[in-house]
Amino acid sequence: MILAGNSLYRNIYGFFVGLLPDGLSWLGLVITGLILAFVFVNALMIFVAGVVYLERRVLGRFQSRLGPNRVGPFGALQPIADLLKMVFKEDVVPAAADKLVFAAAPIVMVVPALAMMAVIPYGKNTFVTDLNVGILFAIAITSVSSLGIFMAGWGSANRFATLGAMRGVAMLVSYEVPMLLSLVGVLLLGGTLSLVGVVDAQRIPFILLQPLGFLVFLIAATAEMNRAPFDIVEADSEIVAGYHTEYSGVKWGVFQLAEYGAMIVSAAVLVTVFLSGWQNPFVPQGWPQVLPSQLWFLLKVGLVLFLLIWVRATIPRLRIDQIMGFAWKILFPLALLNLVVTAVEVQLVPNPNTWQLWVLVAINLAVAVGAVVGFGAAFGRRRTNPTASVTLVSLQAEVVR
């Protein structure tokens, strides 16, 4: 399994096996694993630092501020300064806390993000392993983070933390269902569960063939990574900081690492599945490429991250019951609709040629727009005209006395 395909693991392993004597080939296996783990943990740290900096700067500009700009050129060293601050901060553990659970929670939180990194293709032939159930694995491993949230919330022995944990667990479990369902359409089209294979299967980005699936996955993924407008887990105006209210210092930093790591990795999965991954969207495969595929991948992930930051800067938070209702009443049927439509299409046109493909794109787009508008009309409130709820009354000024 892990040695399949032209993976990074296989290449590095091959290099070490060539160096080592025959009897020690298992050592090559271990060394390769350690090297890759080291590289990926640190790569995640660096990317998280970059994204934190990026988010603070972009959010600042959205809000007519400058954002951090004092440490280093353009404030680019701000994440390092933050890290230093976190390291030197006192690590406070509440007296009533369940110490073991309290300490283990950040570690459990960070595992999914790291584990997901192993299956994502970062570029042409740049992946650790081609897991043949990669998409399922990526979704399944995120569910572990809900466990981390629960452990943190419960272990803190704090009411706000417990509330946040309850909200988080309920929300994360619910949103896994539409998230998985929205991917089934892609599986039908691509005919593979492998994240490496799904990139090769995209003659045109699946966002065009699966606009509804993309929308559902984007929303569900936003919820899975606790980003606005689904950030009820750590709603700062309501429950202070949610599950990590009591955390400080490095443990808090690990939570941030886990959250932003999950954000990056989820964006990477989104790009891989719907935005044709590392492929150049303008020049088809096989033609001479100017930019390396890894750069295209980074650009697309950056685009998705910018979208998430933009949404965070604009949209208020939903309430817990609205969020749950949204998942089950709107996203779930939408994902089912997408699945049915895609299944019919795949049955009718198993191997579409170019013009058939574009007809399918048009049909799917129409279905997506129709579904969104229809659901909006059925479930949304009537569009409110602000002037209807407030009237201007002209009064003659009078002296009462």
Binding site: Q63, R312, L392
Partner: protein
């Protein structure tokens, strides 16, 4: 959680134990040091008990130790987002008590200052409301950006931005500088666009509507019974505005409308304030056009000795009816000063509005009343 809660004996039947959560006094959304003891079943609020007094500074008692003019500086600190309105309410009471006439120009300047202050206070309200709804500070910072222009105008008027102490019994302490008027004109030209932008950001946003529409409906009768005032009362459908009902200064000459809500829900309370800000702009523009020349202040002595008696001066402050009740025994300082602060009175209906809603709604509903702890605790 079980080891935190001391229950002497388990309840007879199996039911969820209510959870007691103390929101505040240090909580991001309690607008200062306010404490709400919330009894919840899951996320649903069963009972609330407001506890306040953390910011009590004894303003009323301090006023008895100060001369009438000196008390002006104390009023700045009541509702620190609306110092001008507080000043105005107090000096009106003193003028009534001592029978001091105010020159026309002084009255116009006071109206301009008070209405600018209303816009500033409403901008803060809208920003913080959206913050409580969970928008990541963006509307708040937009609101603050535009409020900054108003504070710049205040700095021109009186040299201070927040604690203005601008008004004196008998007028305002000083005429506006010459560069104030062009700056005011620029502000009046720009502000409607800013308000449009802010309204575009929030008024039709589906999430804002879903979060606030139909939330914590306060019926008109209930609002009147709870002696509510200000935008909260008007959002409930009662066209009650002291600027119309008991016009002080030159409000009688101003043409403006009163925004009145149709449903009395949180959404209306949000919108009424946005619309009021536009009406305030109308008033400022009129006052700026009509303002006569002449003195701005009747030269009252610094140590005013009003005749024995009592007076009540009230204004329509951004948060509701702000009144000062002063008793004089002929001395240089009030014998008794009682402040009717709108924030405090508006808290009366809090419990009725909160029970049955979720924690996430709690901060939104509490925010929609727009209380200021400086005024509640005095």
């Amino acid at each position: 959680m079980t080891n935190l809660q001391q229950h002497p004996e388990p309840p007879a039947e199996l039911e969820a134990e209510p959870v007691v959560v103390n929101l505040g006094p240090q909580h991001p959304s309690t607008h200062g040091v306010f404490r709400l003891r919330v009894i919840m079943d899951g996320e649903t609020i069963q009972d609330v008990e407001p506890i306040f007094g953390y910011l009590h500074r004894g303003t009323e008692k301090l006023a008895e130790e100060r001369s009438y003019t000196q008390v002006v500086t104390l009023t700045d600190r009541l509702d620190y987002t609306a110092a001008m309105s507080n000043n105005l309410a107090y000096v009106l009471a003193v003028e009534k008590l001592a029978g001091i006439e105010v020159p026309e120009r002084g009255m116009y300047l006071r109206v301009i200052a008070a209405e600018l202050q209303r816009i500033a206070a409403h901008l803060i309200f809208v920003g913080f409301s959206l913050d409580e709804l969970g928008a990541f500070h963006t509307p708040l910072l937009y609101g603050f950006r535009e409020r900054e222009r108003i504070l710049d105008l205040f700095e021109m008027l009186c040299g201070a931005r927040i604690t203005v102490s601008y008004m004196r019994p008998g007028g305002v302490h000083q005429d506006a500088p010459v560069d104030f008027w062009p700056a005011l004109d620029r502000f009046l030209a720009d502000m409607p666009h800013y308000l449009d932008e802010l309204q575009g950001l929030i008024a039709e946003n589906e999430i804002v509507v879903a979060r606030t529409k139909g939330l914590a409906v306060l019926l008109a009768a209930k609002a009147i019974n709870c002696s509510m005032s200000g935008p909260v009362l008007r959002a409930s459908g009662v066209a009650w505005d002291l600027r119309k009902q008991d016009p002080y200064d030159v409000y009688g000459r101003m043409q403006f409308d009163i925004p009145v809500g149709a449903n009395g829900d949180t959404y209306d309370r949000l919108l009424v304030r946005l619309y009021e800000a536009r009406q305030s702009l109308r008033i400022v523009a009129q006052a700026r056009k009509e303002i006569p020349g002449g003195p701005v202040r009747t030269q009252a002595p610094f140590f005013i000795r009003p005749p024995v008696g009592e007076a009540y001066g009230h204004v329509e402050a951004p948060k509701g009816e702000l009144g000062f009740y002063l008793v004089s025994q002929g001395g240089i300082s009030p014998y008794r000063c009682k402040i009717r602060s709108p924030s405090f009175i508006n808290l009366t209906a809090l419990k009725e509005m909160l029970v049955g809603y979720k924690v996430a709604d709690l901060v939104v509903i509490f925010g929609s009343i727009d209380v200021n702890m400086g005024e509640v605790d005095r």
